[in-house]
């Protein structure tokens, strides 16, 4: 590489030797005016481009269809929020004013959404109300989602916990039933021993409990009274 070339390159890399000074030449006033006019004309042409308009015209039906679908799905998603909370309902006509009454109805196969108190609500008769009621019925007849996952019972610990819960529930039910039975037996005993009893002679009965806690009324005769 020659010395002259090397010097030129060094100056260029240092930013002291521009290679294209013509790129910095400011256009004349006429050139600027002409370019400005061309710029504005091209922009105007692009905005009124018939091909672009035709393309937009072709796309218009699709855009309208997409907008309709969005509206329909949007309404479907927000519909339950805008309705009063009601369980599955049956519609019946009243006799006096041709209005319809929505009555709550318990469905055994499905779980109803949280419902308002079962007050019959009168709504004006309208053909669209039938469809709306059906739509709402379909919305409310939801099954419980499996939020725990299908592999819940694959865990031995989960099964043990479930059995323990079942067992505790059974015991609680038994305790409740026993308490109720005991209350009844105790009430019978107290009524028999009451001072307001019509019969003057007090019956020789006693209230006893067996080893399981069940109350019993027994006759208190000499044979079965044990002195301790």
């Amino acid at each position: 590489m020659k010395k002259q070339q090397s010097e030129l390159l060094d100056r260029y890399l240092a930013g002291d030797a521009p290679q294209h000074p013509e790129r910095l030449m400011v256009p004349t006033e006429d050139e600027l005016n002409e370019a400005e006019a061309a710029f504005d004309r091209l922009m105007a042409e692009r905005q009124s481009d018939p091909a672009k308009k035709a393309r937009m015209r072709r796309l218009w039906p699709w855009a309208a269809a997409a907008a309709c679908l969005l509206i329909v799905f949007g309404l479907g998603l927000t519909w339950p929020d805008r309705q009063p909370a009601q369980p599955a309902a049956a519609i019946a006509k009243t006799e006096n004013n041709n209005e319809k009454i929505v009555k709550p109805e318990v469905r055994k196969d499905t779980v109803a959404a949280p419902a308002a108190p079962a007050e019959p609500k009168a709504i004006p008769a309208s053909p669209s109300r039938h469809r709306l009621a059906k739509h709402y019925l379909a919305k409310t007849q939801r099954t419980i989602p499996d939020t725990l996952g299908s592999d819940l019972w694959e865990s031995e610990r989960n099964v043990m916990l479930a059995l323990q819960m079942l067992s505790e529930c059974g015991e609680a039910i038994q305790r409740g039933e026993q308490a109720t039975r005991n209350l009844v037996v105790e009430a019978e005993y107290r009524s028999a021993k009451s001072p307001f009893n019509e019969t003057d002679a007090q019956p020789l009965i006693e209230l006893v409990a067996n080893e399981y806690g069940d109350y019993h009324i027994v006759a208190a005769n000499q044979e079965n009274i044990i002195d301790i």
């Binding site: 890399l13 930013g15 521009p18 290679q19 000074p21 910095l24 400011v26 370019a35 061309a38 922009m43």
Partner: protein, 164 residues
């Protein structure tokens, strides 16, 4: 107007210039803004007031957009002819300076677009890092780093071509 004022005026004008260029052609908007700002800098001393700079910047941007638009159209229609002409010129031009200039042009063309824009401002318009930072909305530190990177890339390209 003094050189320090260019930094603030360029930073203020750049978004508007970029908006004009983007509305015309988003792909070449940055190049058009760079060219317009380089020309604005070249004539900065002769401008009487910042308001004149603003008017001129808008017109220069539109001119750069139209210039690039016409260059592209020309490139598309006579691409083959241009290649043949360049080859012929390369064969006949034997001066060392011209050889070096072509090699530099090729090396600059091979730079990444952002680096190329910064390098052109540095090497052709002789703008300093602050002015380039204001004109490109890039941090001064990043401008210096990118300029060093561009310089290294150019040297490597020239070495591969046997000119260094």
């Amino acid at each position: 107007m003094n050189a320090e004022l260019f930094t603030s005026v360029a930073a203020r004008l750049r978004p508007r210039m970029l908006s004009i260029a983007t509305s015309f052609d988003a792909d070449s908007a940055e190049d058009a803004v760079q060219e317009a700002l380089m020309r604005l800098w070249a004539t900065w001393d002769q401008l009487p007031a910042p308001a004149d700079a603003e008017r001129l910047a808008v017109r220069l941007t539109k001119h750069a957009c139209i210039d690039e638009f016409r260059r592209r159209q020309k490139r598309q229609t006579v691409a083959l002819q241009v290649v043949e002409t360049t080859r012929a010129a390369a064969m006949t031009d034997t001066t060392d300076e011209a050889t070096l200039q072509r090699a530099i042009d090729r090396a600059v063309e091979a730079l990444p677009p952002a680096e190329r824009r910064l390098w052109m401002m540095h090497a052709e318009a002789r703008m300093n890092s602050q002015q380039i930072a204001a004109a490109t909305a890039i941090e001064v530190r990043s401008v210096s780093t990118m300029l060093s990177s561009a310089r290294r890339h150019i040297c490597e390209t020239l070495k591969r071509g046997g000119l260094l």
